[in-house]
């Protein structure tokens, strides 16, 4: 009796520390609904074939990694609309520098990480020092990146060496490397938010920037830090994309609507757009919900345009499901 209660208590403690957000219930409901529809109208593989379930997660990796960064920025009451084109820049620069040669891999990775740091720094500095609204600052950055990348490259450029494809296609045991990377990022984001001073300060800045500043926080540095981290997650997503696609093209980021979808998944996962509230576990659920929906639609053979319609409706309904009770008016 006593021996079993100890680990159970520990499990409970861990669970309460993670604070599983209610959106996971939504995820399970969507999965069961999707699987049932699949069972009724298609071959029912969503329930029976673990490969399909695994595929849901692999497809979520690209969006998931950048969504972790986006969540941090949104918690800081900011936003980053430049991630989609940063993903493109990363993918293209990476395959351009690598040119299929494994010797160039470290050089390419260093280069794109450098680009990520610069983009994040500029975003953060423009928002904090020039006092530009984050929506406009990062939208402007997105336009600048899109212009530069489209002016320089017009198609798939270069390629990645086979060894680099390990990130996208490799497995450790039976678990894909990409899923492990995604989990590492989610756990790192969670630790950063809940176990470090930076995280606590970020919630403070997002909750009330002026109050945080008056109580002695260096609000500018915290926000700049969040933006640099967000840009770096976009770079990692870009690396993952190019290792899957084997070559980068300027449209890989915007085609995936990673800017708006990473925001949508954060909000679906319970992070408030006004800042100061939320977490990365909720975002992971949001990302998985999108993955389940995608897979369900594919299984059912839904028309691609109808898919876009349903996706729009579901984003709004998912957010509405917990905002509609709020007393405060939305903006």
């Amino acid at each position: 009796m006593a021996t079993t209660s100890v680990p159970r208590n520990q499990v409970k403690q861990i669970l309460s520390a993670i604070r599983i957000p209610p959106v996971y219930i939504f995820l399970v409901v969507i999965f069961i609904l999707g699987g049932t529809l699949d069972l009724l109208f298609s071959d029912g593989q969503m329930f029976t074939n673990p490969a399909i379930t695994m595929n849901i997660v692999v497809r979520s990796v690209a969006l998931g990694i950048v969504a972790v960064g986006q969540t941090l920025v949104i918690i800081g009451a900011s936003i980053d609309l430049s991630v989609a084109y940063l993903i493109s820049v990363t993918a293209v620069m990476c395959s351009y520098i690598m040119q299929g040669d494994a010797n160039n891999v470290p050089k390419a990775i260093l280069a794109v990480l450098g680009i990520g740091v610069v983009v994040g720094l500029v975003n953060g500095l423009v928002i904090t020092k020039l006092r530009v609204n984050s929506f406009i600052a990062t939208l402007g950055m997105s336009l600048i990146l899109s212009g530069l990348i489209n002016a320089t490259f017009s198609n798939y450029t270069g390629s990645v060496p086979q060894s680099f494809e390990y990130f996208g296609y490799g497995t450790i045991g039976s678990i894909p490397v990409s899923i492990i990377v995604l989990l590492i990022f989610v756990v790192a984001g969670w630790l950063l938010l809940t176990r470090t001073k930076f995280g606590a300060h970020l919630y403070g800045v997002g909750g009330n920037r002026e109050a945080a500043r008056l109580s002695g926080l260096r609000t500018d540095r915290i926000l700049i830090g969040a933006h640099v981290i967000c840009s770096l997650t976009a770079v990692i997503t870009g690396l993952f994309m190019v290792s899957r696609l084997r070559s980068g093209a300027p449209w890989v980021g915007p085609d995936g609507i990673y800017d708006l979808e990473s925001i949508a998944t954060s909000v679906v996962g319970g992070t408030a757009m006004a800042g100061g509230k939320g977490g990365v576990w909720g975002t992971l659920a949001g990302v998985l919900i999108f993955g389940v929906l995608d897979t369900t639609f594919n299984q059912l053979g839904v028309n691609p345009y109808l898919k876009t319609v349903l996706r729009g409706v579901i984003i709004v309904l998912a957010v509405a499901s917990y905002t509609f009770r709020a007393k405060k008016e939305a903006a």
């Binding site: 020039l130 006092r131 950055m141 997105s142 996706r311 409706v313 709004v316 957010v319 008016e329």
Partner: protein, 333 residues
């Protein structure tokens, strides 16, 4: 001696009051003037009434979109669905027209009806489900774009009839002094006057700004926040339909015609001095904001810059414009 000092201070006063008046001119007007003159120097077409009218024909739709977006921004919200609405208007119209000019007006009527429906839905979702407008209109953007493409089967069917296109393409001929005046400009003028009266001269306009300034305070002082919010989304969508008819008239059928237009419109509003946090906006200023954006694109074209660089410049401009405003007013970003 005394008289001379009196006149001196008097003239100083006059100069100072003129200077004050000049300082109060929103920066968008001198900026537009400078860029437009530069365009005129580089391209002699713009020195003629005809050239200016051609310019106005092209910018009028963007100005109309900007008026609607500005009203939403002034309440502190966003409307990201307008680009998709423009796409919908163009490609669904090409289907509904069946290449028959007689269908033009009914088709536009149907589009306006859809615009009302979309705006109403946006407004109700934001007001009653309390979904942030960024997410609500982002969802609507996907819904409208996907729905329109599904409706026409993925590719535009048929073409736009000449009479449908005349709103955005044709001119009123033989006008004294001006030569010819585009219908697009006339439509913009009518909408601008009505919007000016609504936004700057009516109670409703003051309520829009009050909500943008402080929702709670406006609510407590008796503003029907939900009604006003719903109305601005409605106005924005309907103006997007009107702008869409003109853009389609000018540009023809194209599935990507509305892509990125919401961002361009928001940029025009920002250049026109609209605050994204709400509480500030002006109809004439955003019209000139739209003019300025288009003039800048013309200038870049004339300088021979390839299209991708236009994006870079557009990005720099909107960041610069907002940085200028917020640094000079020292308001929190």
């Amino acid at each position: 001696m005394t008289t001379s000092t009196v006149t001196q201070t008097d003239s100083l006063k006059v100069i100072r009051s003129i200077w004050d008046w000049i300082r109060r001119i929103p920066p968008v007007y001198p900026v537009f003037l400078v860029i437009f003159i530069a365009v005129g120097i580089l391209n002699h077409n713009y020195q003629t009434a005809n050239g200016i009218m051609t310019f106005l024909r092209r910018v009028s739709p963007l100005a109309i979109l900007a008026i609607g977006e500005m009203m939403v921004l002034a309440t502190g919200g966003f409307d990201l669905s307008i680009g998709s609405i423009v796409t919908m208007v163009v490609i669904v119209s090409s289907l509904l027209l069946h290449n028959d000019p007689a269908n033009a007006l009914p088709t536009i009527g149907i589009m306006l009806g859809l615009g009302v429906l979309i705006g109403l839905t946006n407004g109700l979702v934001v007001s009653f489900l309390k979904v942030p407008s960024f997410i609500a209109t982002l969802g609507m953007m996907l819904l409208v774009r996907g729905g329109a493409l599904y409706w026409v089967g993925g590719a535009p069917q048929g073409y736009l009839t000449d009479n449908w296109r005349s709103f955005g393409r044709d001119y009123l001929e033989n006008i004294p002094l001006l030569g010819r005046v585009p219908y697009a400009l006339l439509i913009l003028l009518v909408i601008a006057v009505v919007a000016y009266l609504i936004f700057h001269r009516s109670n409703f306009g003051k309520q829009i700004l009050a909500i943008g300034d402080n929702v709670r305070a406006s609510q407590l002082s008796g503003v029907n926040v939900r009604l006003v919010r719903t109305m601005v989304f409605l106005i924005s969508s309907v103006l997007a339909v009107i702008g869409g008819v003109m853009i389609g008239g000018y540009g023809g059928v194209n599935v990507t015609i509305g892509q990125g237009l919401e961002m361009q419109t928001i940029a025009a509003c920002v250049v026109g001095g609209t605050l994204l946090t709400g509480g500030k906006g002006s109809v004439p200023n955003v019209i000139f904001g739209a003019f300025t954006m288009e003039a800048i694109f013309n200038l870049l074209n004339l300088l021979g810059l390839p299209k991708p660089y236009k994006d870079v410049i557009q990005g720099l401009i909107i960041i610069g414009a907002v940085a200028y405003v917020s640094l000079s007013s020292r308001k929190k970003a």
